[in-house]
Amino acid sequence: MKKLMTGDEAVARGAYEAGVRFASAYPGTPSTEILENMALHKDVTAEWAPNEKTAMESAIGAAIAGARSMVSMKHVGMNVAADPMFTWAYMGVNAGNMIVTADEPGMYSSQNEQDNRNYAKAAKLAMFEPADSQECIDMVKAGFDLSEEYDTPFILRMTTRVCHSKSIVEISERDEKPLKDWEPNPGKYVCLPAISRVLRVKLEERLAKLAEYSETSPFNRAEYHDGSKTGVIASGVCYYYGREVFGDDASYLKLGFTYPLPENLIKEFCSKMDEVYILEENDPYIEEFVKQCGVSCTIHGKDMFPPYGEMTPDVIRASAGMESLPTIEFDRSKLINRAPALCAGCPHRGLFYRLGKRKDIMISGDIGCYTLAAGKPYNAMNSTVCMGASISIGHGAQKVFNMGDSGRKVVTVLGDSTFFHTGVNSLMNTVYNGSNTVNIILDNRITGMTGHQDNPGTGFNAQGDPTTMIDMETLVRALGIKHVKVVNPNNLDEVDAALDEFLALDEPSVIITRWPCVLKKFSQADLDEFDDLFATKDRVDPDKCIGCRKCLTVGCPAMNYKADEKKVVILKTQCVGCDVCAQVCPVGAIEKEA
C-alpha cells in the first residue's frame, strides 16, 4: 500500500516491519515523532526515558535480552548517550539494535549543529544515511538484518529535512521476529579491561567486513549519465539537492551506507570524472575520506560549499558560481519580525515578567519553551547551554560571585522534563558542594516544546497508560534541599514573595512554579488539582483603560493596542483568563468576562 509519510513516520514504520519490540527515546526536535509513531503499536513496548543515556541503555538491555530494539534522539542527545554507545559498539548485539540520530543542519530548533556522522567513525559503528522516506523504511529493515549478521549496533543518521519531509512509501506487513534466547556471556557483555582488549581486536575485524559490505551495498550506487565528466558524491537529502541542480548533466555516486565508506567504489567513480562535487551538510566527512583515497580528479568540497547550514539547491548554485533563479526584489524595510513567543496563557509568563525586573542577579537558563524568555519583553535569561545545565552552571557561577563582594545571586530556571532529564544530578551537586542558588523548576506538567510528551512527572507513559507520578517536591527534599515552595506562577505576588524570601538565603532553595501548559490535553488529575483551568476570559473595560500600555509589557499575544482609540483590547479567540495582565494594570481596567 502506498502512503505519504515523513521520514520520522517511515523510520517507525520500518522498525515495526522489521519486528522491533522495544523502543526508547527522549523527545527532541526533529526526532520526536519516531517514538510517538512507534508508541501507536500496541505490540511494541515504546517508552519515553528521562534522558538519552537511559534510553540508550534500555535499548541495549532489550537487544542483549533478545528483542530487536531501537533508540532515537536528536543530535545533541547523542552526546548524552555517548558513554554507553561507545562500549556497546565493542560488545555487539544479540538481537539487532538501531541508534537513530536526527541532526539539525541550519539549527531550526537546536543550540548547535554538530555532525553526528563523526560519532559513527569515533565509536566504530555501521551507519546508514537515508535520503527520503522510502529509504528510511528500506535502510531500517536492511540495517536490522545487517546488525545481526555482522554483530553490530548501527546508526541511522537523519537530518531535519529527512525527518520532516513527506514522500511516498510502500508499506508492508510486520515480520514477527521471535525473541532470541539469552544466555550469560561474560566474554561478550562484561566489559572488564581484559575482555575489552579482546573485543577491541574483534571490532577491527568486524569493521573490515563492514568495509567489504559497503563496496557492494545496494545503498551505495553509481549513476552514470552518458558523456558526463562532472560527478556528484552525496549522502542523505543532499543527493536530491544535487539532482535538482545538476539533473542528468552530472553522474552521481549516491552514498547511503556511510560508515565504513566504500573506498574502491569511490576510486572507480572518481577515475571516470574530471571534477567531482561533494555535497554534504556540515563537516567534510566524505570529502576527507575521498581525499585520503588519492583520487586524481578535481574535488570541490568545503573550499566551495559552506560547512554550516543546509545544502539546499540555492546554496549549491550560489557556492558553485552557477546562475541563481531570478527573484522578485521588494522593500524589506516593510517586514516585521515574527519570532516565536510564549503562548497566551503560558504559565511561564508570570514568572519571567517578575524575574526579568530583578536587579543584581544572574539567570542561568535551560532548554525548553522558556528559553524564549531570553528575548523581549522579559530579557530574563543570561545563559543557555544544554539540557539540565541551568542548575550546575548556576552553581559554578554562584561560587565565583561569592568570592567577590558583589552580593550577586544566581537564579536557575528549567522545566519539569528538563529537571528529570539531567537537572536532578545538577541539583545534587549544588547541595553536595554547598552553593546558595535559587533554583526554579517550571512544572507545567508536560514536555512542552517538543509537542506534549509525557514524562516521569505527568502520571502517564508514552503509550498513554497510567503510571507512578514522581513527586517533584519529595524528590527535591530527598536531595537535601531544605527550602522548597510550590507557587502558582500566574499569581505575581506569590512569585515575588517566594523570590524575596529565597534570594535572601545562604542555602540552596527550590521554587516549583506549578501550572499546566495551556496547550496540554488535561488529565483528570489536572482538572481536579487546578481550579478553573483556562475556563475564563479577561476583558478590558474601555472606560477605565487609560492607554498606558503597561499590560502589553507582559508580552501576551492575546493583547492588541488600538492606536486610534488609545485603548488595549484582548482578543477573545486567544485569551484563556490567566489574569497576569490584570495584575499589571495600574487602574484595574482588566476584569473577568461576565
Binding site: 530548533s109 531535519t160 522578485i328 521588494f330
Partner: protein, 190 residues
C-alpha cells in the same frame, strides 16, 4: 515538470492541515509528491511554511527562491516575506488577514498599512478575505480550506475528487462546511 506550491502563514492558522489534504490528493491522482515543513520552535506564534512539490518525479523536497509556481499566504505580512520565493510568472494568493507579531504588540515595530500595496508593486496578487468567507459559511477556522480551494483552482487540479479526500481526512461533522469552503475558495480566484 515539477510544480512547486508554497503555503505560508502564522503558527496555528492551519497550513499543515491544508498541505496534508493537498498532498494526499496529489498522491491519489498519481503524482510523485514531496512536502517539507519545519516543526518545533517555529510553531509558537512564529512564521510557518509548508513546501509542496509534485510531478512525474520530484527531487528536492524544498522550494528554492524564485521557484514557486504559486504562493498562498494565510496572512499579509507572510506574503510579503515570501515574495522572493515566487517565480516571475508565478501566482500569489493573499488572505487579507493581518496578525500582529510580538514585536508589534510590545511596541517595537509598527505593522505597515501598505503591505498589499508593496506586494502590488511587484506582482498582480489575488487578495481573498478567506477568514470572512469561512465565517459566512459558519466557522472562520475553515479559512485554511478556502485557501486550499484557491490553490486547486489556480493550479488546475479540479479533476481530483477533493470531496472524497476531505471525507477521508476531516472529522465527519466538519466535512460539509469544508466542502463548501473549498468550493468558495475555488470561486474566489475563478
Amino acid at each position: 515538470m515539477t510544480k512547486s506550491i508554497l503555503l505560508v502563514g502564522v503558527g496555528g492558522q492551519g497550513t499543515i492541515l491544508a498541505s496534508k489534504i493537498l498532498t494526499t490528493g496529489l498522491m491519489e491522482a498519481g503524482y510523485d509528491v514531496k512536502m517539507s515543513e519545519i516543526h518545533g520552535m517555529s510553531q509558537r506564534g512564529g512564521s510557518v511554511s509548508s513546501q509542496v512539490r509534485y510531478g512525474d518525479q520530484v527531487d528536492s523536497p524544498v522550494i528554492e527562491k524564485g521557484a514557486a509556481d504559486i504562493i498562498v499566504a494565510f496572512e499579509q505580512m507572510e506574503a510579503l516575506r515570501s515574495l522572493d520565493y515566487l517565480k516571475e510568472s508565478g501566482t500569489l494568493v493573499v488572505n487579507t488577514e493581518k496578525i500582529d507579531s510580538m514585536s508589534v504588540i510590545v511596541g517595537d515595530q509598527k505593522y505597515p498599512d501598505d503591505v498589499l500595496e508593496e506586494i502590488g508593486r511587484h506582482v498582480e496578487e489575488k487578495a481573498v478575505d478567506a477568514t470572512k468567507i469561512a465565517a459566512e459559511l459558519g466557522n472562520p477556522k475553515a479559512a485554511n480550506v478556502v485557501l486550499l480551494g484557491t490553490i486547486i483552482k489556480a493550479m488546475g487540479l479540479d479533476q481530483i475528487d477533493w470531496d472524497q479526500i476531505l471525507e477521508d481526512n476531516i472529522k465527519p461533522k466538519f466535512v460539509e462546511l469544508n466542502k463548501k469552503a473549498l468550493r468558495a475558495g475555488m470561486e474566489a480566484v475563478a
